[in-house]
Amino acid sequence: MSHSLSINKRTGIWDWLTTVDHKKIGIMYLAAAGLFFVIGGIEAFLMRLQLMYPNNDLFVGSTFNQLMTMHGTTMIFFVAMPAIFGFMNAVVPLQIGARDVAFPFLNSLGFWLFFLGGILLNVSWFAGGAPEGGWTAYAPLSSSSLYTGTGLDYYVLGLQISGAGSLMGGINFLVTIINMRAPGMTFMRMPLFTWTSFVISALILFAFPPLTVGLFLMFFDRLFDANFFDPTGGGNVVIWEHLFWIFGHPEVYILVLPAFGIFSEVIPTFSKKRLFGYHSMVFATVLIGFLGFMVWVHHMFTVGLGPLANSIFAVATMAIAVPTGIKIFNWLFTLWGGQIRFTTANIFALGFIPSFVMGGVTGVMLAMAPADFQFQDSYFVVAHFHYVILGGTVFGLFAGLYYWWPKIFGRMLNETLGKWHFWLFFIGFHITFFPQHLLGVWGMPRRVFTYLPNQGLDTGNFISTVGAFFMGAAVIVFLFNVIWTTKRGERAVNDPWDGRSLEWSISSPAPEYNFAQIPQIRGLDAYWVEKMAGNKEMKPSEPLGEIHMPSPSILPLIMSLGLFISSFGFIYHNYYIAGAGLLITFACMFIRSIKDDHGYHIKPDEMSERDRGITA
């Protein structure tokens, strides 16, 4: 008797470097995001230490600006984005009853581009200083080497490379969700997490090209002395702001919508009810995605675009509150009448509701252009977007981790440690960021490394830093939980939470081929429907047969390495190295194009008995 292990021809590190299995790529995304989260968190903590007292001189001037820029850039591009891609990879194919994503090779390439982009950016710390233009990198501070060192070159190229990876990921998931749903899995039967993944994939498709274009313009300004953003050469500094925010505003929805999706999975599961108002939830998701593109100018009310532009964009921005409100009340009414279990995954989801509502209402306040003249670029904004991104995305990611950990890794995270994690994080989060609303309206601009004593800013900053200690402790508890669980955590059963969607109907962790037989979907909450009908398993839609699998490949890694090497050539103006790096990438593309690779097949007798539906 053989089992699934015999299929793996490659093992150890080589397996991870060459894998095209979406579940393993998902794990790599999560692990890389975790690594960058620790780096970005340390940067944040050092900033809060500097701001603990007025006139402190721990990290001043350029050093502080580097910490601040790297914190923002890292958290957005190298923590939140990849963590979301991690969950999409780990969960979406399982939720729609697919054996894989549409383009497994592209999936691997997307990961390696993101990862090496992130490494490239962090190399800047050791190569003459990190970027220091803020995560938004406004021109001409960032576009002209007159004002900044090579750090900004690392920023431009690091984001360009990882952005290409994100774009690939987005396209891949659009195609996967459109084409690879199991029989019976209509769009209106898709779980909400898959829905949000679908919508954000579309957002990525439209939002990343403007960033790519903007980064290329900045690349030309910096490396070849072009004048796109230089007013003395006929350029315009506001072009970058538009390009950046046409990308940047949808980006915040790219980050928060999947978190909404996670809450829409977690809350129904742990209140044992179906999601209240599923149809309006889907509609609200699509509407938020659409409106996300219409409102970028609300980041630019103080640029001087005039009262008409400001009014139009202000009203459009406020409109987003409506679909968001629909979502909040639908979650509340999902809980209404249910049997609520306070698992760690669920308390993260529940803690999200009040926290995010506070971030949401300050969003409406910020949307009002004249009021924004006071808020813009002050600590009020810092407080607002941390309430949204931490209170939304990060709470969502933690909820998702506790919820899907058993499915991804086959072990349960410890619940007691999980609750410590939650309470330390939740309390620390509010202590850190609540006072920042006040600091903002009391006159503290964002991105400052110090403030003068006796201007009313001392106490607020001190409290805020104290909160950062709590959050740091929470993350340490979480990391300890991960290590401890990996070593001696309880083994997970297939369906530990009495789940509703398809991923809970298969083994934990899922076998390489996901579903031995593609299931037949008979309704929303597919697995729950079967459980209610008294079935233990999904009904198969096909007879048991050979499963076609894609071959692993090292090419995505080498392709990404080529661009990584080429970046150094551009940064240090050595065009031989730049060319050599590009040559490596193109050579890999050529090999990939001419080499016939039909993958391999898994035979039914290689599958585990449980997956074949044979009760052991």
């Binding site: 406004y138 209140s271 009014s311 049997q339 004249p370 006040l438």
Partner: protein, 336 residues
């Protein structure tokens, strides 16, 4: 545990309400303590939105708390709760109410946006000021009065000040919280904004857009004085002191200044425009916009400008003690 969560969420809300109502924070920096019509208008809008938003948060908080207490899973609770699909009535309700609330906010918001964008430069009672932001100092020019200052902006109370704001290098933002909201200083473009101060006082101004290493230290002061005092100030500025310094030390300082500093700094109309105009330096309230004005701090600045304001454009001239004491003596005596 659940009740604590409820209480915890309310504490900050009550806090915000109290602080807003009492107008807490230090005077002259806080946007919650407006000292002019622009800041007042903006605060009234902030308050309106804040009250509506507190209402929204309270509704959510009440339903949330009720649900968590009422519907938590009890031990030995079996069975499956009713699988409710949704409710068209309820969903329409929580779509329509937010729309109404947003309309209530949108109407004054749009009207105020246009009020604040008015251009008063044509009116006779308006003081026009050109603001040019530099890394990391502020230049103020009164085109109708023929006066230029740096770091300190004198304005008369009760009159509209019409600003034309631009930048000499990177993007900065001009912000005086107690008088009104900010607007960006973009290189190659001119932005207009008006402010007005109701009462005399020194209002703290800051740069709000990241502009480089010393962004945090790019402060300035707006000094509002009565109309009469303002006119006196204008007169004094236009008739520079003939000879207020006679001490040898100051003479030495002046000579050194004319050799080394004058390429960047102007005094009484002669000199470069790369650094701030120092014509009435002795009247300043701050050194470099951040240090208290005294001879000790001036020495500190001259000895190590990069240490005080990292990344600024003033080089360390490696002055000896004699040169420094001469310069200090000369500069502090540059008074109206």
């Amino acid at each position: 545990m659940i009740q604590w969560q409820h209480v915890k969420r309310l504490i900050p809300l009550i806090g915000v309400m109290m602080l807003t109502l009492t107008g807490c924070g230090k005077p002259y920096l806080s946007a919650l303590d407006p000292k002019g019509p622009v800041a007042e208008m903006q605060l009234s809008l902030i308050k309106l939105s804040l009250y509506i938003m507190i209402g929204v948060v309270l509704v959510v908080a009440i339903i949330f708390t009720y649900v968590l207490i009422r519907y938590r899973k009890r031990p030995n609770q079996d069975g499956i709760p009713e699988q409710v699909e949704g409710s068209a009535k309820l969903e329409i309700l929580w779509t329509v109410i937010p729309i109404i609330l947003l309309i209530i906010l949108a109407v004054p918001m749009v009207s105020q946006t246009f009020t604040l964008a008015k251009d008063y430069s044509g009116e006779s009672d308006t003081v026009r000021v050109k603001v040019i932001a530099h890394q990391f100092w502020w230049e103020f020019e009164y085109p109708d009065l023929g006066i230029k200052t740096a770091q300190e902006l004198y304005i008369p109370t009760g009159k509209k000040i019409q600003f034309e704001i631009t930048s000499a290098d990177v993007i900065h933002a001009f912000w005086v919280p107690a008088l009104g909201g900010k607007i960006d200083a973009n290189p190659g473009m001119v932005n207009k904004m008006w402010l007005e101060a109701d009462e005399p006082g020194v209002y703290q101004g800051r740069c709000a857009e990241l502009c480089g290493a010393s962004h945090a230290l790019m402060d300035f002061s707006v000094i509002a004085v009565s109309s009469g005092e303002f006119e006196d100030w204008v007169k004094e500025m236009k008739t520079p002191p003939t000879e207020t310094v006679d001490a040898d030390l100051a003479k030495q300082g002046e000579e050194f200044f004319n050799q080394s500093c004058i390429t960047c700094h102007a005094v009484n109309g002669t000199g470069g425009n790369f650094g701030p105009d120092l014509s009435t330096f002795g009247d300043r309230q701050k050194i470099a916009g951040i240090l208290e004005f005294n001879e000790e701090n001036l020495e500190r600045w001259l000895k190590d400008p990069q240490g005080v304001k990292p990344g600024n454009k003033m080089p360390n001239l490696n002055l000896n003690d004699e040169q420094i004491s001469g310069l200090v003596e000369y500069l502090v005596n540059l008074k109206r």
